[in-house]
């Protein structure tokens, strides 16, 4: 395999890792105010992602920076073309990150509700807009012979891109619900299970529609490809298992569903990295956007050394905090116990 192909695969893995890991963070963020009816429960719902979301976000950073390093031409065209969409993603990421950190720091109800909304909307917008962006890579955007985007913001909102975004939002919601079920007990878990039924159907509809649409957008054979079939099977399993007590299996299934969906985008894309709807000759490919051989060798060595390390310590962090979050004893919950003076950072 050539180095630029290896880097295309690495970037696809970063994007898959991002959606699998941040997917449940976004899902929990969107659902936290529904599965939690009072402050205690909302806090518990958000605590399920507490130790991890910040590290999960880095998968997006390495996807972006890795594109910059390995395919500067792709990075330049994609980020400038998706300008306003990425602006919104940034705003949403800021809202999400800061509200998770700041919401607890004051008991003022208005402060709380402001951050609650910021969190919910932020977590909805990020997968939606990134989904639009990824869908557009495959669907094609007006790009000229010098690889410059010639459209405006509304040209980004292609129907296929939007459907990709909506599908990813639905998958994140289901993934968040299966994750909440896995990590909580009592009422929070019950509500997550109740929500899983409609969310499961929505995700199935999203993925099935997406696979059919993708077949016509991506060209090639009319029959769904193996990874696309995997996505459909996984989402069906996830939806079915989410209403049972097989918490671990249903979470695994929703993770596979997200991974297979995001993975399919990249499989269908290769060897292109951005399709030009203006003229197929202007397509950006792994070939015409990649860095030189030396730079790719250096980056490959760096990735071979550090990426396994990252997997190791991130995996360890998931292992350390694997226990379910239990509700506080009833006695404590009844009385208006003073907010534990979060001595703790965080």
């Amino acid at each position: 395999m050539q180095l630029h192909t290896i880097w295309f695969v690495i970037l696809a893995i970063f994007w898959i890792g991002f959606f699998v890991l941040e997917g449940f963070d976004f899902g929990v963020g969107m659902l936290h105010a529904i599965v939690g009816r009072d402050e205690q429960e909302r806090k518990r719902a958000l605590s399920t992602i507490g130790p991890w979301w910040d590290g999960n976000e880095v998968w997006l950073v390495v996807a972006g920076a890795g594109t910059f390093a390995a395919f500067p031409g792709w990075y330049a065209t994609m980020f400038s073309a998706l300008y306003l969409a990425l602006l919104l993603v940034l705003v949403a990421l800021m809202a999400r990150g800061v509200s998770l950190e700041f919401r607890e720091k004051s008991e003022n109800p208005r402060w709380r509700s402001t951050w609650r909304w910021a969190l919910t909307i932020g977590c909805l917008l990020i997968p939606l807009l990134l989904g639009v962006g990824l869908g557009d890579l495959l669907n094609g955007l007006p790009i000229d012979s010098s690889h410059e985007y010639t459209g405006n913001f509304f040209d980004l909102l292609t129907p296929y891109g939007l459907w990709t975004g909506v599908t990813l939002v639905a998958l994140c919601l289901l993934h968040g619900a299966t994750f909440l079920k896995l990590r909580t007990t009592d009422r929070v878990r019950e509500r997550a299970r109740e929500l899983a039924r409609p969310l499961g159907w929505a995700a199935i509809a999203g993925v099935v529609g997406w696979v059919i649409w993708t077949r016509s957008v991506a060209g090639g054979p009319d029959v769904p490809q193996p990874v696309e079939i995997l996505a459909v099977i996984a989402v069906a399993f996830a939806a079915r298992l989410a209403i049972t007590d097989h918490d671990g299996l249903s979470f695994a299934a929703s993770a596979v569903a997200i991974a297979a969906t995001v993975g399919s985008i990249f499989i269908d894309l290769y060897p292109n990295v951005m399709v030009s709807s203006t003229n197929a000759a202007y397509d950006l490919t792994v070939n015409n956007t990649a860095s030189g051989h030396y730079a790719l060798v250096v980056m490959t060595i760096v990735a071979v050394i550090f990426f396994p390390l990252v997997l190791l310590y991130q995996g360890w962090s998931f292992h350390v905090f694997r226990a379910r979050l239990k509700a506080p004893p009833e006695s404590a919950e009844g009385q208006s116990r003073p907010e534990p003076v979060a001595p703790q950072p965080g």
Binding site: L46, S47, L60, P72, S80, K326
Partner: protein, 465 residues
């Protein structure tokens, strides 16, 4: 116009980002020191101050991280021509930052925050040190990338005239990088220790938890003193390096329009911008500029007018002189405030020696006021570095004016600029409110040394974000 707006946006967002970065780097290191002290002596008040300053650290990390994402995206969004042109070299360190540093910092921060009652003590202590290391590593890769813009090394031009990396080692042994990186780390230690000093001073003046905050005041002075003294040497050395590779930057910082030998240092002047070559010099110190810029008593400094002529010969017609006003004053703001901080640190050290640190009313007052200084100095430092590189975005290789995104309109940038400014004001306000609130809060009295936290039964929810 579009280009100017893109520059305004990058300047605004990066200066803002760098208000938080040095606090994070500096405080992470200091919190790690505090926790190490607790680990050694087992005194409960050390645990309390560790957690107290840990909370402040986290508030800043939150803003630092999200504003850092903006920087990461901005290269492609606003500067796509630049990204396309230099990605082969410049993209590498950014990706390395993510893989080697950013993952490390954020994963172990999560482990540290939530691991208090979960992890063995030693492991938990290692987590905060890894956070501190991750923050410093992060800065290393960013500085390596930035230094390449100041003094490009380790590349060849390919057939399209584009720079391609051919020696990665050169990126990390670039003299501009080595000195610039040490400069930034010291600036972060100065910032962190001044923040810690100010908060400790506030509590000492209120006579609250005197013993605990006496420890942190002492620690901050003991970190500040060597950091600021070294910094004066390193800053000066960095000036010499830049004078070698970017003579216009330093000549502009000294408002030195014509060749001189020996050169006197203008300590203060009125007027003297780009359209005014003969300012009213108020104070000039003979030989000092020669010493500062070249390290010799009678060293020669080439003037801006001569540099301009050389550059025109080399690169074709154009204006190669950076903004003299910005250069001149950012240099002086740094040097003068730095000297004042050095005096403050010496004063503090003397008081520690006399055993009067916690009782000196005037020192505590000064220590509180000094918290503004590092933010001003850090900003001045980046203005000097980045404005001094103009008109180049990569010294000698690409001009800033050619670097922005052709497909992005002024309207796009206006929208994003306004959005960022509004959000950053809101973020800044929230951060400031929280910092003030949490800095003034008392240490948690119930938070005993050994698993006696009030939320023992449900440790994780209480420690959630």
């Amino acid at each position: 116009m579009t280009n100017d707006l893109a520059r305004w946006q990058f300047a605004t967002t990066s200066i803002y980002h760098f208000l938080f970065v040095p606090v994070t780097i500096g405080l992470a290191f200091l919190v790690a020191l505090l926790q190490t002290a607790w680990h050694r002596n087992q005194k409960p008040e050390y645990k309390r101050v560790t957690r107290f300053f840990g909370t402040l650290l986290l508030i800043n990390v939150a803003v630092g991280v999200v504003t850092g994402l903006v920087q990461e995206f901005e290269f492609g969004m606003n500067w796509s021509s630049y990204s396309r042109f230099v990605g082969d070299v410049f993209g590498g360190p950014l990706a390395m930052e993510g893989l080697a540093a950013f993952f490390l910092e954020s994963t172990f921060l999560g482990l540290w925050v939530f691991g208090w009652d979960r992890l063995p003590r030693r492991v938990h202590l290692a987590c905060i040190w890894l956070v501190a290391a991750g923050a410093m590593l992060s800065a290393m890769f960013i500085l390596a990338a930035n230094s390449w813009m100041q003094h490009p090394v380790g590349y060849v031009l390919n057939s399209h005239g584009q720079p391609q990396l051919n020696n990665v080692w050169a990126l990390f042994t670039n003299p501009t990088f080595l000195w610039g990186y040490v400069h930034v780390i010291l600036a972060s230690l100065v910032t962190g220790s001044l923040v810690m000093l100010a908060i400790s001073a506030w509590h000492l003046r209120k006579q609250s938890k005197v013993e605990a905050f006496h420890h942190t005041a002492r620690l901050s002075v003991l970190v500040l003193l060597p950091a600021i003294l070294l910094q004066m040497f390193v800053g000066n050395k960095l000036g010499e390096i830049e004078n070698t590779y970017q003579p216009a930057k330093i000549a502009a910082a000294e408002a030195q329009w014509n060749n001189c030998q020996p050169c006197s240092f203008s300590a203060f002047q009125i007027g003297g911008g780009n359209n005014d070559q003969t300012p009213t010099q108020v104070i000039a110190i003979p030989h000092l500029l020669s010493v500062l810029a070249t390290g010799t008593w009678n060293g020669a400094v080439i003037g801006l007018n001569q540099l301009q002529k050389e550059d025109v010969k080399k690169y074709g017609p154009g204006n190669y002189i950076p903004d003299v006003f910005i250069q001149y004053w950012s240099m002086r703001v740094m040097a003068y405030l730095g000297s004042l901080i050095a005096l403050l640190a010496l004063w503090g050290a003397w008081l520690i020696h006399k055993g009067r640190l916690a009782r000196s009313k005037w020192f505590l007052r000064a220590g509180l006021a000094a918290v503004v200084a590092p933010f001003v100095m850090n900003t001045a430092g980046w203005l000097l570095t980045e404005s001094g590189r103009q008109p180049w975005i990569v010294q000698g290789l690409m001009k800033t004016v050619n670097a922005n995104s052709p497909s992005v309109s002024s309207t796009d940038i206006w929208i994003s600029l306004i959005a960022f400014v509004l959000i950053y004001i809101a973020l800044g306000a929230a951060d400031l409110i929280l910092m003030l609130r949490y800095s003034r809060r008392d240490l948690d009295p119930d938070d005993g040394p050994e698993g006696t936290s009030p939320d023992k039964h449900a440790p994780t929810p209480a420690m959630s974000y």
